[in-house]
């Protein structure tokens, strides 16, 4: 049986792991390669690295970080941040990434998804979507870009369906409202997207308790869950989380 995946995420700024709340107030949390080695041995099913500075200089840093992280990593690695062209995708794959996450550039130029999928395969392309709830008068979620700084006015559910049709192999779905709050995933958003697409979906943003992870799978219908500071601070270990999920009937490795 296919197992549900637990994925720690390293948010990087200038090559160091950081964590913010609702995409701001960044606090440094240390060396990415050390975190990666810990997670490799801790039972993580994959690792995600997102460069949230995402400038041209940051991309060079990112390639070096990916090389250092991949050195001792024998689980899959997804890398994202500032990827603008299919050649950027290739550089990250060559550095040791197994899959590459596309966000802002794919919203401004959706052909980037199909170009990357054609060249490297659908399974290589993860489409990251940062979604935020609209005001209660008009229910739904908008897609944000530039690290959550700009509202595109696009509907998140429609965009999810479009990235699938353009060749994305997976969606990394972040609730900006829940990011760093530890009050639980936005299961309504997760459910809306998992019902709209037939590719796997990774839930991100809001995990605080083990119940929250279980909810993302059972209520949200996702295939994988992502969390950062909760694991980095060792507030929760992946092994304990997997024991809990297993008892809840969620298949884990």
């Amino acid at each position: 049986m296919l197992r549900k995946r637990i994925i720690p995420c390293l948010d990087l700024k200038e090559g160091k792991v950081v964590k913010g709340v609702k995409f701001i107030d960044l606090v440094s949390m240390g060396d990415p390669a050390a975190h990666a080695l810990y997670y490799n041995n801790e039972g993580a099913d994959e690792l995600v690295i997102l460069d949230i500075t995402a400038s041209h200089e940051a991309r060079g840093t990112l390639v070096h970080v990916v090389e250092a992280v991949a050195e001792n990593l024998f689980i899959p690695l997804t890398v994202g941040g500032g990827v603008r062209t299919a050649d950027d995708v290739r550089a990250l794959l060559l550095a040791g990434a197994d899959r590459v996450s596309l966000n802002t550039s794919a919203v401004s130029r959706p052909e980037l998804i199909s170009e990357s999928a054609e060249r490297f395969g659908t399974q290589c392309v993860v489409s990251a979507i940062d979604a935020r709830r609209r005001d209660p008068a008009s229910p739904g979620w908008d897609v944000y870009v530039y690290g959550g700084r700009e509202n595109t006015g696009r509907d998140a559910i429609e965009w999810a369906a479009e990235v699938e049709s353009r060749g994305a192999g997976e969606i990394l779905l972040t609730s900006m409202d829940r990011d760093g709050t530890q009050i639980g995933y936005d299961c309504e958003l997760l459910r809306a997207v998992t019902e709209a697409v037939s590719i796997p979906v990774i839930a991100s943003g809001g995990a605080g308790t083990m119940e929250h992870f279980a909810d993302a799978f059972t209520l949200g219908g996702v295939d994988a869950v992502l969390a950062a500071s909760l694991f980095h601070t060792r507030a929760m270990t992946i092994r304990d989380l997997k024991n809990f999920l297993s008892k809840k009937g969620v298949p884990v490795r």
Partner: protein, 204 residues
């Protein structure tokens, strides 16, 4: 020594790192002569069937890989590398594979999310040096949209929508649909076992 075939598609670095981790020397090459001289050959692969075969033909690697296999020397195809061992794929109609193992690669279907991404069971069904313990159930990492069905060469199976080949073997030609280089200890152990397999005579 392991020779890893570079035909411009794979994530070679990860295969190289896995070889280093298990203490085996490995070299990357796209030179047909080096492939012909190889002892143990690994054909990695990420990407599309048609594009992979196009590169293999362009580099003149087809006959080198086929000759290696027919000489009875060990070959391991990983993921797309395993699919290339067959005749053709629904992914790229009209493109001829390496024709080492008869069969057609199909598209995953059956009400499941595609690609198949994540950790799944690998159940040995027939004796193979890669799966010496028939009772050992492995959990390994898969990421793919196309599959090889159950064929006479199937030595391990997995299930995702359909039951299909997690691993195939014909003589000393081996294929695994999952990624041993990304499957932690279980994968590294399997790679180590491949480096210990003996050449076997080839029969069509």
């Amino acid at each position: 020594m392991i020779t890893v075939v570079d035909y411009g598609m794979g994530n070679l670095r990860n295969v190289m790192r896995a070889c280093a981790e298990i203490g085996v020397r490995a070299a990357v090459t796209s030179d047909p002569d080096a492939v012909r001289k190889a002892g143990w050959l690994i054909l990695p692969g990420v990407g599309a069937f048609g594009e992979a075969m196009r590169k293999i033909e362009e580099l003149g690697l087809r006959s080198a890989i086929v000759d290696h296999a027919r000489a009875g020397r060990p070959l391991l195809g990983i993921c797309l590398g395993m699919q290339l061992l067959l005749d053709s794929s629904e992914e790229s109609p009209g493109v001829t594979g390496l024709n080492l193992i008869p069969g057609v690669v199909r598209k995953l279907d059956g009400g499941v999310k595609v690609p198949h991404i994540g950790w799944n069971d690998v159940v040995p069904v027939s004796p193979s040096p890669l799966f010496p313990d028939q009772n050992e159930k492995l959990v390994t990492y898969f990421v793919h949209s196309f599959y090889v069905g159950i064929i006479p060469e199937t030595v391990a199976v997995t299930e995702y929508g359909v039951r299909y080949s997690a691993s195939v073997r014909k003589g000393s030609v081996y294929g695994v649909q999952f990624h041993p280089e990304k499957s932690q200890i279980a994968g590294l152990n399997l790679l180590r076992r491949f480096t210990l397999v003996k050449p076997a005579s080839w029969s069509e």
